[in-house]
């Protein structure tokens, strides 16, 4: 087991090294740099800037310096926001994205599970069709349509919420609802499918014959099996929700990492791009590693082949 873990770890570290190197050099070869601006700076000032940030050193030396600072845990200063270090920006923004992700997932489950369960239990009735239609709409309508629509209703007309921001507790509601709806749709359809399969099993028929109430059947017997497809969906969904919140963060002006991930590339903020890439790569690789380990622990064949 230990050998399996060690080999997986080494593979992950190797992958990380390749990612860092590829990103570092690709960034440098892209046209435009952090100081390319509409109002060009004079050549003398550009020289001062490059000296200040060490950009006038040969590229291989900058690369090695960067690796050295990484080993010390220092991601460097941000080029775009000289007032902040990359470490600081990541530390500020990652918790926000995590909070957005977790709350959205909770919202998605709270909406999707009941909808899917009811659709399965009341199959082929109007409740099933309504639930499925809402699910279809949720999957098809993009978040940048749902978002402003909800802001129009709840913010502008009803004045219940602000149009944007992440400042007070109420600000969490609309963004998490919008992102939650996007994920509730597939969750409800998966739940419906899973529940239908379970509800047709013999042991459910037995339970009914023995006189168990509908509620007891659903909650005590069927749900455990019916949720299996949802659980396997949640794995990639968590990764997606954590990294793909760019649209929501833009619409609702949320200070999260998703937006920074994209904008830092536009700004050619070399250090921030590398910082976010390393963070996300690390996150995803850790999640994969944890998943592999869990599988190996459950299924001996995996670790023996490992």
């Amino acid at each position: 087991m230990l050998r399996f873990f060690a080999s997986r770890l080494v593979q992950s570290l190797l992958a990380m090294f390749v990612i860092i190197t590829a990103t570092f050099f690709m960034l440098r070869f892209v046209p435009g740099g952090p100081f390319t601006a509409e109002k060009a700076v004079t050549p003398e000032i550009l020289r001062n800037l490059e000296a200040h940030y060490g950009l006038d050193q040969p590229l291989w030396k900058q690369y090695l310096d960067y690796l050295g600072s990484l080993l010390r845990g220092d991601f460097g200063p941000s080029f775009k926001y000289p007032n902040r270090t990359v470490n600081e920006i990541l530390a500020d923004k990652l918790p926000v994205s995590l909070e957005l992700g977790v709350l959205s997932l909770v919202a998605a489950l709270l909406i999707g599970l009941p909808l899917g369960t009811i659709a399965a239990v009341r199959r082929n009735t109007w409740m099933d069709y309504t639930g499925s239609s809402i699910g279809m709409v949720g999957i098809s309508v993009p978040t940048f349509v749902v978002g402003p629509l909800l802001v129009l209703v709840f913010g502008i007309h009803l004045r219940w919420f602000n149009a944007s921001g992440w400042y007070s507790f109420e600000d969490r509601f609309l963004p998490c609802l919008v992102l939650g709806i996007a994920y509730a749709a597939p969750i409800s359809r998966l739940t419906r499918g899973g529940m239908l399969e379970v509800l047709n099993q013999d042991f459910i028929r037995t339970a009914r014959a023995k006189g168990a109430s509908e509620i007891r059947i659903v909650f005590k017997h069927a749900l455990r099996g019916g949720l299996l497809p949802v659980v396997s969906f949640l794995g990639p969904a968590i990764a997606g929700i954590l990294t793909g919140s760019f649209v929501i963060e833009t619409i609702f002006q949320i200070p999260g990492l998703g937006r920074e991930f994209v904008n830092s590339a536009f700004n050619r903020d070399y250090t921030l791009v590398l910082g976010t890439v390393i963070l996300y790569a690390g996150l995803i690789m850790s999640l994969n590693l944890a998943a592999d380990l869990t599988q190996a622990w459950m299924n001996p064949k995996v670790r023996l082949e490992g």
Binding site: V41, E44, N48, I156, H157, A163, Q253, I254
Partner: protein, 541 residues
């Protein structure tokens, strides 16, 4: 069942939302004062997160708004957003030859920690921004001063040999290399603002970029407001400075700057009452505001020009006749009225009108002339004219304009122009490396003087980016700065403008405006370079 009720309710609400007319913009008070009292807080849409709040490091317009609340330069714009009024300087005098400026500072001028603002503070601040080690991007704003450029390049190491002198604690003297008629105008830019060196030195030294001195708990400034809170990408809060020398003139007690990048989100924030003024207004909302909320819509002139650079090194654009044909072969009025529609004015010359200067130069000719020129250049009715690209950065608006022009040139001249969009930095790089045929561009004034619209066309200037170079033009640029009178200087600018409209290294399209939504009761003076003097911003009634 509970689900049915919820579904019905949701549908009903959505239906109702569609029927109801847009809610009127809010003017609800958020400061919780007694009923009838005038508001003193302001929620201000500021467009993007500022890079920093150190006036010697930043370069942008969102930073400009906040820096003008936290710091104060020698001079500032007046109550109507124009003119030059005393700010940190109480008075000044200019020598006969226009080379020596002597400023007397406000006797009661104080930093927010109680220290008096001295001439030494100003000189040391100038030294900091010019230090090569700081690598400030706007260091060249101080280049009219003796020794400034040399000190910034490291060629001069003794700052005492530059033209900045402390005569006494309250008197500052600046000596210029040559007469600079627009010096006082350009001093309203934050590159000239003082910073509190003792505080900066406590946090890592004068030449370290981005240290902690601009954080709220460490911040020291000499402006009407002090920094109270800075939540990155969320809000920046400033409150009245208790030590500001002109505190009695400041009517606002608190300004909250919101760095909302998405302009649609910003407009929604205005409608919920979260913002009292937006930074911009989506183009397609302008008509609605004009029709339904005209008292919340403002369209202010902005000293800037939207134009297309022409790569004069690339055939067939090397031929002046072709360039002139392109410039004459479009209908600017249509673009301004139908495509953009935010009160812009069509541009037929290089420099927008301003109080000190209205150019009489104008692109000469009409569509017939355009066709004739094109034929003369060897492309009658556009036959044989190669397909050229029209570069623009990624934006819906630029795309619409580019497509409109493509149509106009096809119909009017029979030539094929292909719009190409590139991501922002790639687009900038393409212009820098002359890797384009036509390229959309914008240029906004740094200060209110025509010089800022003419010096970029100097041969080899870093902002020229067209390959255009003309010895006569360069000579006139120098002559203008040495002109014996303002009238003479403006006459030279008109001649230069005429030269540009004859050579056409760029095709002017329109002069900018700034459209935004604003609470009707907010008094916000118009300023053509978007530099507010916060003393003159207040709520009426």
């Amino acid at each position: 069942m509970f689900k049915r009720g919820t579904c019905l309710a949701l549908f009903a609400v959505l239906l109702l939302a569609g029927c109801k007319k847009g809610a009127a913009p809010a003017t609800a008070s958020s400061s919780g004062g007694p009923a009838g009292a005038v508001r003193t807080d302001l929620n201000y849409g500021n467009g993007t997160e500022p890079q920093d709040l150190d006036p010697q490091i930043v370069t942008g317009v969102p930073e400009n708004k906040i820096v003008n609340a936290l710091f104060e330069g020698l001079v500032a714009y007046g109550p109507k957003g124009t003119g030059t009024t005393p700010a940190a300087a109480e008075s000044w005098s200019i020598s006969e030859d226009g080379l020596v400026y002597t400023f007397k500072l406000q006797p009661a001028g104080k930093w927010s920690n109680g220290d008096p603002v001295t001439a030494g503070d100003f000189v040391r601040s100038f030294q900091r921004i010019l230090s090569p080690g700081l690598a400030s991007e706007y260091a060249n704003k101080l280049s009219p001063v003796v020794g400034a450029a040399e000190f910034n390049e490291g060629k001069l190491t003794d700052f005492g040999k530059t033209g900045f002198k402390v005569l006494d604690a309250r008197t500052l003297q600046i000596t210029l290399k040559r007469p600079t008629p627009f010096l006082l105008e350009s001093m309203k830019h934050y590159a000239w603002f003082p910073v509190h060196l003792p505080t900066i030195e406590k946090f890592g030294g004068a030449t370290r970029k981005g240290t902690a001195w601009t954080r709220p708990k460490n911040f020291v400034g000499n402006g009407p407001f002090v920094l109270k809170e800075w939540a990155m990408q969320q809000r920046i809060v400033v409150e009245t400075s208790p030590t500001y020398w002109d505190k009695k003139s400041v009517k606002l007690t608190r300004i909250v700057f919101f760095p909302t990048e998405n302009i649609e989100t910003e407009e929604r924030m205005f409608r919920t009452g979260q913002l009292d003024k937006t930074n911009e207004l989506p183009l397609d909302k302008t008509a609605v505001y004009r029709r339904d909320h005209a008292d919340s819509l403002r369209i202010d002139p902005l000293l800037g020009i939207y134009f297309f650079r022409v790569n004069v090194t690339r055939p067939p654009l090397t031929d002046k006749r072709v360039r002139r044909a392109l410039a004459l072969g479009i209908d600017r009025k249509q673009i301004v009225e139908r495509v953009v529609n935010q009160g812009q004015t069509p541009a037929y010359n290089a420099c927008p009108p301003m109080p000190s200067f209205t150019s009489t130069a104008r692109l000469q000719g009409d569509l017939e002339e355009a066709k004739r020129l094109l034929a003369e250049a060897g492309f009658p009715d556009g036959k044989g004219f190669p397909r050229i690209d029209l570069l623009h950065n990624t934006s819906q608006n630029h795309k619409k304009i580019a497509e409109a022009l493509q149509q106009m040139w096809r119909i009017n001249l029979g030539i094929d122009v292909a719009p190409v969009n590139q991501e922002w930095k790639v687009y900038l790089d393409s212009q820098d490396t002359l890797n384009y045929s036509l390229s959309r561009a914008g240029w906004v004034a740094d200060y209110v003087d025509p010089n800022t619209f003419f010096d970029l066309w100097r041969t080899g200037d870093g902002n020229n980016d067209t390959g255009f170079g003309n010895a006569d033009y360069d000579r006139m640029l120098e002559e203008a700065l040495n002109a014996p009178s303002e009238a003479a200087r403006m006459a030279i600018y008109t001649k230069m403008d005429t030269l540009l409209m004859d050579e056409v290294p760029f095709i002017p399209l329109y002069f900018y405006t700034r459209a935004f939504a604003i609470a009707p009761k907010l008094h916000y003076p118009e300023n053509s370079v978007e530099t507010p003097n916060w003393k003159y911003v207040y709520w009426t009634e």
